[in-house]
């Protein structure tokens, strides 16, 4: 199954490129300490606002820090927070979706209506209010984004469960006297794993979107940690004299979210 998946993914050059970009950023996030020419927080006050050159491929920022090193190092925080929040959000959402879709009735009604309420709000608005009160930290960021992703995921999983819950094998498991948890996770979940995987990829793109935006707004990763969203907001006041400080992280974010989304669209279509 993985084999056919991979083959559909690599069928078109655009999707192959997208897969390469995602894997490339993942690899960089792991091994960046071996790649960076300079320390990502090392300041050289003599060399501020240096344009791209042979020594500094992407130039330096207002504190003389090497932009390329910060970009490479910044891939880690965005991917860690993105992957952690997506994993948590999809785990919670899938569980809620399984429960709602399998038990139906009042449980379903109550769960779905509360999730509707949560989804009626713009993600960024709730996230900034909660983070403003909790204080920005990596853990809070993960929790808030997971909370925002779970309802969307729950809704999709629920409708996938609906087409499986009345099958004979579920009835058989019930008659055998299996517990509800067993039926949910051992009988139903394996059948909807395809949906869950596609969901994970789509939510990952959304989650990275949210991490970058919240960091840009000042509610996410805090300085001096190298982070793409933060780099755009730090570079913004002097974009006129040093546009590269803004262009590089903006392009990095765009490349990652677009690539993940292309992969997700492809997975969904197959």
């Amino acid at each position: 199954m993985i084999g056919t998946r991979l083959r559909t993914l690599l069928a078109s050059p655009g999707v192959t490129l997208a897969v390469a970009v995602v894997l490339g950023w993942l690899a960089i996030a792991v091994i960046w300490p071996l790649l960076v020419p300079y320390g990502p927080t090392a300041q050289q006050l003599g060399g501020r606002y240096a344009p791209p050159s042979a020594e500094h491929w992407l130039g330096t920022d207002n504190l003389g820090r090497d932009v390329l090193s910060r970009i490479l190092a910044g891939s880690r925080s965005v991917l860690i927070v993105g992957l952690a929040s997506t994993t948590l959000g999809v785990a919670v959402g899938t569980t809620l979706g399984l429960v709602a879709g399998f038990y139906r009735g009042r449980v379903d009604e109550l769960l779905m209506r509360s999730l509707d309420l949560l989804m009626a709000f713009p993600i960024i608005v709730i996230a900034s209010v909660i983070l403003a009160m909790l204080g920005p930290s990596r853990l809070n960021l993960v929790l808030v984004i997971a909370l925002m992703l779970a309802p969307y995921n729950a809704r999709v999983v629920r409708s996938a469960v609906l087409s499986w819950r009345d099958r004979d094998f579920v009835a058989a498991a019930r008659l055998r006297g299996e517990s509800g948890a067993y039926i949910l996770f051992r009988e139903l979940l394996p059948n909807i794993m395809g949906t869950v995987n596609v969901e994970f990829t789509m939510r990952l793109a959304l989650s990275i979107f949210a991490v970058a935006t919240l960091s840009f707004l000042g509610f996410g990763i805090q300085p001096p940690t190298p982070d793409w969203g933060l780099m755009v907001s730090e570079g913004r006041p002097f974009y006129q004299i040093a546009p590269w400080v803004v262009v590089a992280p903006a392009a990095a974010i765009a490349s990652l979210v677009v690539a993940i989304n292309v992969v997700a669209q492809r997975l969904r279509a197959s």
Partner: protein, 328 residues
């Protein structure tokens, strides 16, 4: 018969309105509880970390924070309904006029955005449905997939770099001067509107495309063609009428996205709207202002969804019959 259908529709509308008001009360409790329960002591927030315990207590008393939670909630809600929204902790000024002014600015920006987005996205959806799977369709689809995913602050920065720094066509800040005429105002709002549009255009265009394709394959469309009607008439008089209905719901759903996008766009372009005010309130933890803004936004979102549902019900005979219990 028409009369009974109308009264059925009215009853449906009133029922929905009642549900909405109930939900809004629930949301207000949630907002209040969320902001009040989350950590951070108010006295210290206002006076700073090194304030003495007596001074902190004094501030809490002045703000009435020593009263029970339920009393404070009722007081807050009562004030809200009578137009007294309380004072900002940071600015010390009444909230209602400030929020009203900022809300007005945001509505102007959102209005211009919608005036741009709706015709563009509907045209794009129609064109890509009619040229299905051909190059135009693929290009439109590609653009919408890509543009949906890029965070607004990223596309805004690129817009500023291209159309403000490289080509000095538009101002990089949307702070419209006081005495600006409509044309100057539009020039200031151009970049924010272009930055916020792609996501909205992408979603609406894809919905229109999908429903156009369904309607183009429907039996009545074939009948109309076989009757020998001019293809243009078939499209405009038959297909479009049905295909545009789902767009209403999507457009209403996009209002939530639009509000979220406005928060970011207003921050990037220094636009004095309600989104920027929300961010400022959140960054300095101005609790009364946060509560008021979030409640107002919730009310606006719910009202716009209700309005869209109502419009959809009125325009669609099938749903109308269902909603009014088959009164037609």
């Amino acid at each position: 018969m028409a009369r009974s259908a109308d009264s059925g529709l009215l009853r449906y509308f009133l029922r929905r309105l009642a549900v909405m008001l109930g939900l809004l009360v629930l949301v207000s409790v949630l907002i209040f509880a969320m902001v009040e329960i989350l950590p951070g002591d108010v006295g210290n927030l206002i006076l700073g970390q090194y304030a003495t315990a007596e001074n902190v207590d004094l501030v809490r008393q002045q703000l009435g924070l020593d009263r029970p939670l339920a009393v404070r909630y009722l007081d807050w809600m009562g004030g809200f309904l009578t137009g007294d929204w309380g004072d900002s902790w940071r600015l010390g000024t009444p909230l209602a006029p400030l929020i009203g002014r900022r809300l007005y600015n945001s509505v102007v920006l959102a209005g211009v955005a919608f005036a741009f987005v709706i015709p563009v996205s509907i045209t794009a959806g129609i064109v890509s449905a009619l040229r299905r799977d051909r190059l135009t369709d693929r290009v439109i689809n590609g653009i919408s997939v890509v543009s949906i995913t890029i965070p607004e602050f990223v596309s805004s920065m690129f817009l500023i770099l291209f159309f403000s720094l490289l080509l000095p066509w538009f101002p990089s800040s949307a702070m419209v001067p006081e005495d600006a005429g409509p044309l100057t105002t539009l020039r200031y709002l151009a970049l924010p509107v272009i930055a916020i549009s792609p996501v909205l255009i992408g979603y609406i265009a894809r919905t229109v495309r999908a429903s156009m394709i369904t309607e183009l394959g429907a039996d009545y469309t074939r009948t109309a063609y076989l009757k020998g009607l001019d293809p243009r008439t078939v499209i405009t008089k038959h297909v479009l009428r049905n295909a545009l209905l789902p767009a209403i719901t999507v457009i209403a759903n996009q209002i939530a996205w639009l509000v979220g996008g406005l928060v970011v766009i207003e921050a990037v372009f220094n636009y004095p709207g309600i989104g920027q005010l929300l961010l400022q309130a959140a960054l300095v933890q101005d609790v009364p202002m946060l509560e008021a803004i979030v409640l107002i936004l919730a009310a606006i979102l719910m009202l716009s969804n209700l309005a869209a549902d109502l419009l959809y019900t009125m325009l669609n005979p099938r749903v109308r019959a269902q909603a009014t219990g088959g009164a037609t």
